[in-house]
Symmetry: D2
Amino acid sequence: MSVLRLGYVHINVTNLAEARDHYVNTLGMDVIHEDDGTAYLKSWDEADHHSVVLHEGGVGLVKLGYKVADDQSLADIEKRAQAFGATVDRMSKGDNASVGDGLRITLPSDHTLELYSEIEYVGTATGLWNPDPWPRGGLRGIGVPRLDHTLITTEDPALLERFFEDVLDFRAAERLVGGPDNDDLVASWMFCGEQPHDIAFVKGANGKLHHFAYHMPDWSALLHASDVMSMHDVPIDFGPARHGVTRGETVYFFDPSGNRNEVFSGGYRTGKDWRTITWTMDQAARGINYTHREIDQQFLSVVT
Amino acid sequence: MSVLRLGYVHINVTNLAEARDHYVNTLGMDVIHEDDGTAYLKSWDEADHHSVVLHEGGVGLVKLGYKVADDQSLADIEKRAQAFGATVDRMSKGDNASVGDGLRITLPSDHTLELYSEIEYVGTATGLWNPDPWPRGGLRGIGVPRLDHTLITTEDPALLERFFEDVLDFRAAERLVGGPDNDDLVASWMFCGEQPHDIAFVKGANGKLHHFAYHMPDWSALLHASDVMSMHDVPIDFGPARHGVTRGETVYFFDPSGNRNEVFSGGYRTGKDWRTITWTMDQAARGINYTHREIDQQFLSVVT
Amino acid sequence: MSVLRLGYVHINVTNLAEARDHYVNTLGMDVIHEDDGTAYLKSWDEADHHSVVLHEGGVGLVKLGYKVADDQSLADIEKRAQAFGATVDRMSKGDNASVGDGLRITLPSDHTLELYSEIEYVGTATGLWNPDPWPRGGLRGIGVPRLDHTLITTEDPALLERFFEDVLDFRAAERLVGGPDNDDLVASWMFCGEQPHDIAFVKGANGKLHHFAYHMPDWSALLHASDVMSMHDVPIDFGPARHGVTRGETVYFFDPSGNRNEVFSGGYRTGKDWRTITWTMDQAARGINYTHREIDQQFLSVVT
Amino acid sequence: MSVLRLGYVHINVTNLAEARDHYVNTLGMDVIHEDDGTAYLKSWDEADHHSVVLHEGGVGLVKLGYKVADDQSLADIEKRAQAFGATVDRMSKGDNASVGDGLRITLPSDHTLELYSEIEYVGTATGLWNPDPWPRGGLRGIGVPRLDHTLITTEDPALLERFFEDVLDFRAAERLVGGPDNDDLVASWMFCGEQPHDIAFVKGANGKLHHFAYHMPDWSALLHASDVMSMHDVPIDFGPARHGVTRGETVYFFDPSGNRNEVFSGGYRTGKDWRTITWTMDQAARGINYTHREIDQQFLSVVT
């Protein structure tokens, strides 16, 4: 498994100042770099230069970046992606601020996926010498520690799952199918390392973002996060609640442009010998929102 | 302040076996006594004979019982209730299983309120000698420790508040009024000791129950409670969420007959020098559901 | 029960600047008033003018203040204290900054206890109109919400318990005695309202302070508090741990002068019909430190 | 990285019945298989046949088993181990109940390390179809979900670290060295996937076990675990506390034979691009026990 993790998410925002306020003051990220309508942010426990990039103008996903282990991995992936029939371009150092050479793939779902192994090392807020468990000065707002995963929509989940398996060596931690005797794939949650998911996709329009998520320490941190959301007038989609899928705990909410965010905690440890869990459509509501066993229409319909 | 606490709630349930299963296996209460269509239950950390009584037939509140300190308190309250103009009857030992003499008052809101100072002592599950913090054998289902408060509806909140102040020496911890310049009372949360509330009422039909609540240790216990609700197919009204009013944490849900229950944690310490907090109608949604800042229609409309 | 709560603790500190830093930056209290070697502090969820007063010079307890409901209570207590044989003086408005007339009693244990019903109202950090559950700007350091209780030492616990029962109308929530057949009182935890304890005492030298405690929201808040203690180099006595007595959760630590503090969460609801729990000396270690079932010598021997 | 995780720990216990009671009733593991003085146990969230094996007779570590991805990994590791100069034997299917062919390596620290890719699949308690987040029937005792890591002692930490790097492709998440200008290695915490550590070692006698650890959901689960330990008279070494190293939360305790166990929660996500954190000996106490910043002699000296 040569893909390490979701490294960055680029999104469009209708108003950069408002978006900056949300990601900096509500979520607690730091602005590392800014140029001409674009802001590069990282969370306190992230070492790389940026994990969320805001582009002024519009709304929705621009592209995803996944970090890979080394250049050899890039070469291997390039070959496999071409063999799969995907559109693959070489990405040059500097195409993205502080990011090295890499690949730019158009997924079968029409999303742009960038892969890279080099990015400027900035370091976490607690450092590499005798560190504290969190920054001494305290955290700003929710204080998200790091980016975790993203959920995108696709017309053909089975095709996209095969792409991530064959080209990127991901595996499905959990899958949602039509029923016990109907293996039509509705959604898949896939991992590249040991998390429950590093990417997930659900049947829907190509090229769209359902949400991207930050990893939180635990359930108690979600109450604090929810309080901060209320103080900052952040619209909550659903949660705090338990997920059936991944067994995690969650709050879904929206940035000022309408892009959906999640704070997520918990989950289990996967790995190469993981056996995929299957959900059937009759239990889908329990799978998504284990607590309430119902899904609101907004959660199903709003993507950006 | 001579009223000690909400001692018991009698409710009608459409099917006693189903209700018994809910209160015993989902909530974790113990059946202490049963006769002829009636089940008397208590929670593990309650010492008195019962706190919830289920009556087969119909749905909704039968009556509330508040425990007072002593017989002198009963006599004092009787006089004040009569002076207030309420209907007051003497209740005899044995009218309720294991409960002593007392008073039966018809509140201005048409609810029946019983007051008593004696009830058979059964003891908590952890006992009075070198106790553990919770029962060694573990807890069943949610494992509610004790009854906490109730919320009822009334056509005239201001009248009912005055009754609880003048006759029962309660005080308002928090009040919801029309607006900064409109002191029409919409709801009041009142305490008799040091809790945020021992009873609350909101404008609505006379004689109805909105919910009764159990006190839980903390926010983590609410996640466990929610998981148990999901496993037992319990319909959740809303939560886990933060309350603005009382600052507590909450999950609202329904018993099989449709009576609303709550598990509640947190809150602050009140007392005789407490200054009442005021909420205005424009902030009512934030007051009820601080997390989501919206109230679903079901929460407003369903009473039993 | 006319005593409302522990209102204030006056302590000596060897260095006011260091103590101020501890109570303000580590614990998160605010300095409300200062004069000539004395600092008056309150916590964010306290409404009265001050709860902790630091006096430069030496170490140890100066005096305790308990707030009572009204002047009539003061008069009643004065009579009962005199009948008990205690030394009682009238305290005048202004003897303590912002505190009204009251009583000053020398306890049988040689501690000075002040009682008062009036103190300047400052208000909590969240206010009385549509409040947030905690201050929007966040909390400083541990962010203690309020003072809770104190534990003092006495040569004659049985005598002191009788004083608090007869004169102040406290009751024992829990007691530690010699053994099943030895009712020599070693310690008593007493309440005036509905908490597990508002004061406690244990056999030892007269006039000494074991600790005073702040009330915290829950167990998760104790981990955060412990982290802050580590960052601020605060010596921890013991904890995070569970108490057997009171069933609460705790961390004990020291201020820079060596006065012991506690952050405490949890516990149960008491009241006038509470039946006292009894611990026997063979289970004392489990009673104090339920988690570890052993007590270090420092905890037993260090008082100020 | 072809090693997946710590798969099993074999330990000697002085009395099998007592040990069985500890691992089954206190920790909550299930006995999957027993023969002739040996008990094979697994935790509820583990899918493989066993993770802890108890052997009657004596005390201390017998051997460790790490699961690898496939047979090719075994062959590769065999070659690298031989090149390193370690003693490597082939292990046959059936040498361990339900475990396939593999390798048996004598580490430079004289510990026996087994590597295998096949072991009978038993499945978790929640299964692969529409699972609940935890077993409906509830958990027994502490209810540990899964084995996590182990800490062993070695005369030459630098040599053992090089072995795990060169032969098994582990990386150091954190290291403890003599000082800023003294890079003598005292301890190393190494991972094979994305956890903070899958194995750790500290300078000491060869062949010894310091502890093995279970992964827990969060800090709240550690309070519950501590309560269960108290109820079951389990000796606690230290905790609940925060680790500096790994940023996790911990309780250390002993099984009836004196083998040290840990329940561990929290931590961060590592990976192939992780930069090693360094602790210096002057901060070692804070690194081990961030909360108390001191280490008791028992923690340093007791190994089995």
